[in-house]
């Protein structure tokens, strides 16, 4: 008892280790959590004290969050925040399998600024035993019935028959060396840390080579289900959407773009193993101003010099010119030689002497470079722009691609993933997915909603 109390006292000084589950309307908060010294955002629920549920989750994501919660080792707790103070219950409300909020004893926070302190408090209470560990949310049942079936009760007949422990054994399939070896079906997401939150992929892997990829849930939710509870646009998304219908200061738009790219860069660096440098970039993203762009230029130089980053991204995730042409636009297409950029159509940008950043290569390295160059360019534009306003032409170049067109770039990228990732090794696949900068909220958003927003 004495030892445990002493350990708890010692542990009280550590940052609270959180596994973050990020839903809709949380994009103003989620990226910055890593900057907080009181929190440590961890990659695995097994290493977490607190499950952070941020924003509003749909059915599938809530169900997955319950699974993540149950994987956390006790003592564990849940802390939730949602933008309008309501329980972040599932949307759409009329979904096929409505789920209720699974966490019975979560701590709710209304003010996002309170999240770190509340996390620390919750963690301290849990570790010192003043608060009970939160109970399992899902029943401990097998995914398929198998017990007692077959001659040995293993779920079927024969050595590979049946579904022991509720799952089929790995099946054989051709591999790249002309052999026929075990293939494992793995569902990754929606909270796998290197992937964008909400992305779910069914992947067949042999060793660490990806043989087949499919997307289990459609990327877009039917609009009629969304009428009651569609997530509203927050943060930069609101700003870019506002530019669809009304003039917005160019400086604001461009600073938001630069910030988005730097936040992306911080995450990409983290996934590449440079966590500390990623944190530096994240801090820069929060503090940078167009008048003082030198730190961003320094960053760009440092990245260009870093050979290890080049090595990990060169030639990876090649997007061909024809694939790029099929995209609505955006940095991914521009990194593959497709020069479309909605800003070229805007006379306000024309007056500022805007020309899009285009690279011909189409690999992950080119996408990194395009984004960094665009961030630098955006800051320069913002400084030159002064008070000038955008022209609402019905199409806005968002950070991931054009907004206001027929479909979002993120949705197009998600549909492109299965073809793109097949044959890659896991590490390259992750590099590719990260370099595409898919925004799942944008991908899930039917473009009608954006159009409706324009009308209102």
């Amino acid at each position: 008892m004495g030892v445990k109390a002493a350990l708890a006292r010692l542990a009280a000084g550590a940052p609270a280790r959180c596994f973050a589950v990020v839903g809709a309307e949380a994009d103003e908060i989620a990226p910055w959590l890593r900057l907080d010294p009181e929190l440590a955002i961890v990659d695995s629920p097994r290493a977490a004290d607190v499950l952070l549920v941020l924003g509003r989750l749909d059915d599938e994501m809530l169900r997955a969050a319950a699974g993540v919660h149950d994987a956390m080792p006790p003592p564990r707790g849940v802390l939730s925040w949602s933008p309008r103070g309501e329980r972040p219950v599932s949307w759409p409300p009329g979904g096929e399998r409505p789920v209720s909020w699974p966490f019975t004893d979560d701590v709710r926070v209304d003010d996002p600024a309170q999240i770190p302190a509340a996390c620390r408090r919750l963690r301290d209470e849990l570790l010192s035993g003043r608060r009970a560990s939160s109970p399992d949310t899902l029943p401990d049942i097998d995914p398929a019935p198998w017990r007692g079936v077959g001659p040995f009760g293993q779920g079927g007949a024969g050595m590979t028959g049946g579904v022991p422990y509720g799952r089929p054994l790995a099946a054989r399939a051709d591999d790249r060396d002309g052999l026929k070896l075990d293939q494992i079906l793995v569902r990754v997401g929606p909270y796998l840390p290197p992937f964008p939150s909400g992305l779910v992929l069914d992947v067949k892997i042999q060793g660490d080579v990806i043989q087949e990829v499919s997307i289990p849930t459609p990327a877009a939710v039917a609009p009629d289900l969304m009428s009651a509870g569609a997530p509203s646009l927050t943060g930069e998304r609101a700003l870019f959407n506002a530019a669809l219908t009304q003039p917005v200061p160019v400086a604001d738009i461009e600073v938001a773009r630069a910030r988005h790219h730097l936040v992306w860069l911080a995450e990409a660096l983290r996934v590449s193993g440079l966590e500390a440098y990623g944190r530096r970039v994240l801090k820069l993203a929060r503090t940078m101003r167009p008048e003082a762009a030198e730190p961003v230029d320094d960053l760009s130089r440092w990245l260009r010099r870093n050979m290890s980053l080049r090595w990990g991204t060169r030639g990876v995730g090649m997007v061909s010119a024809s694939r790029a042409a099929a995209l609505p636009g955006g940095p991914v297409a521009r990194a593959a030689g497709d020069g479309r950029d909605a800003r070229s159509l805007d006379p306000a940008y024309g007056r500022l002497g805007f020309t899009p950043v285009v690279l011909e290569v189409g690999d992950a390295l080119a996408r990194w470079r395009v984004r960094i160059d665009e961030a630098q360019q955006a800051l320069a534009l913002a400084q030159r722009a002064g008070q000038s306003l955008t022209t609402p032409i019905g199409l806005v170049e968002g950070p991931c691609g054009p907004i206001g067109g027929d479909r979002s770039t993120s949705a197009a990228l998600v549909t492109m993933l299965p073809e793109l990732l097949v044959g890659m090794e896991w590490g390259d696949a992750v590099t590719t997915v990260v370099s595409l900068d898919i925004d799942m909220a944008e991908a899930a958003l039917p473009h009608d909603a954006a159009v409706a927003g324009r009308a209102s």
Binding site: Q154, M159, T160, Y165, L169, D177, G178, L179
Partner: protein
């Protein structure tokens, strides 16, 4: 005394883990039980002052058993032993053969008369082995090296996917053999293999 206890402990471990190899359900466990057996023998060798050989045995087997484990995982249908499995044939014959060979070899060890001449203290056996390898037994040593090289080349030749006459899994056969092979065999090969059999005329 301590030496004796250690020796018996590692002997027991070597035999026990050897037996577990063929009793483990999980293939990875089977491979690593074998590694334990090798490591125990390696430590006994170290106790016998054949330090270099014992350590090299452990070093070598660490890598080999890991490769073996991966092979088992790759090729077996049920590598983790999630389903109960016994993959044995002629079990009783094998048991008899095992017991008989144990008794024969053990009898040889117990009843044959060997000269007693312990390795003298104070001489570095590793140095002597090195001098021997590169001195009197140079030819043996070199032969072993060449044998290993040949084995490497042969292993690549056997296991590579592309043979001289096409892909190995398409039943690549030398064109000459295809002509002279009995008709039945070619037909059987064709029936067995979906790949089109190249007609001899195509090579004219």
């Amino acid at each position: 005394m301590i030496l004796n206890v250690t020796f018996w402990a590692f002997s027991a471990l070597a035999v026990f883990s050897g037996w577990r190899v063929f009793r483990a359900d999980s293939m990875v466990r089977a491979a690593y039980w074998l590694l334990v057996s090798f490591a125990a023998v390696g430590i006994i060798l170290v106790l016998l002052r054949a330090e270099f050989l014992g350590l090299i045995l452990i070093l070598m087997m660490g890598g080999e058993m890991t490769i073996m484990a991966v092979f088992m995982v790759a090729f077996m249908m049920n590598p983790a032993g999630l389903n109960p499995m016994t993959m044995v044939h002629r079990n009783s014959v094998a048991i008899v053969a095992g017991v008989v060979s144990f008794l024969a070899v053990a009898a040889l060890g117990l009843f044959a008369r060997f000269p007693v001449a312990r390795a003298p203290e104070g001489v570095d056996p590793t140095r002597k082995l090195g001098v021997e390898l590169l001195g009197n037994s140079m030819l043996v040593f070199q032969t072993a090296g060449v044998t290993l090289l040949a084995a490497m080349i042969a292993a690549i030749a056997i296991s590579s996917a592309r043979g001289r006459y096409g892909d190995a899994d398409q039943g690549s056969v030398e064109p000459d053999q295809m002509v002279t092979a009995p008709a039945g065999d070619v037909a059987a090969a064709a029936a067995h293999d979906p790949a089109p059999v190249t007609s001899p005329g195509a090579h004219q």
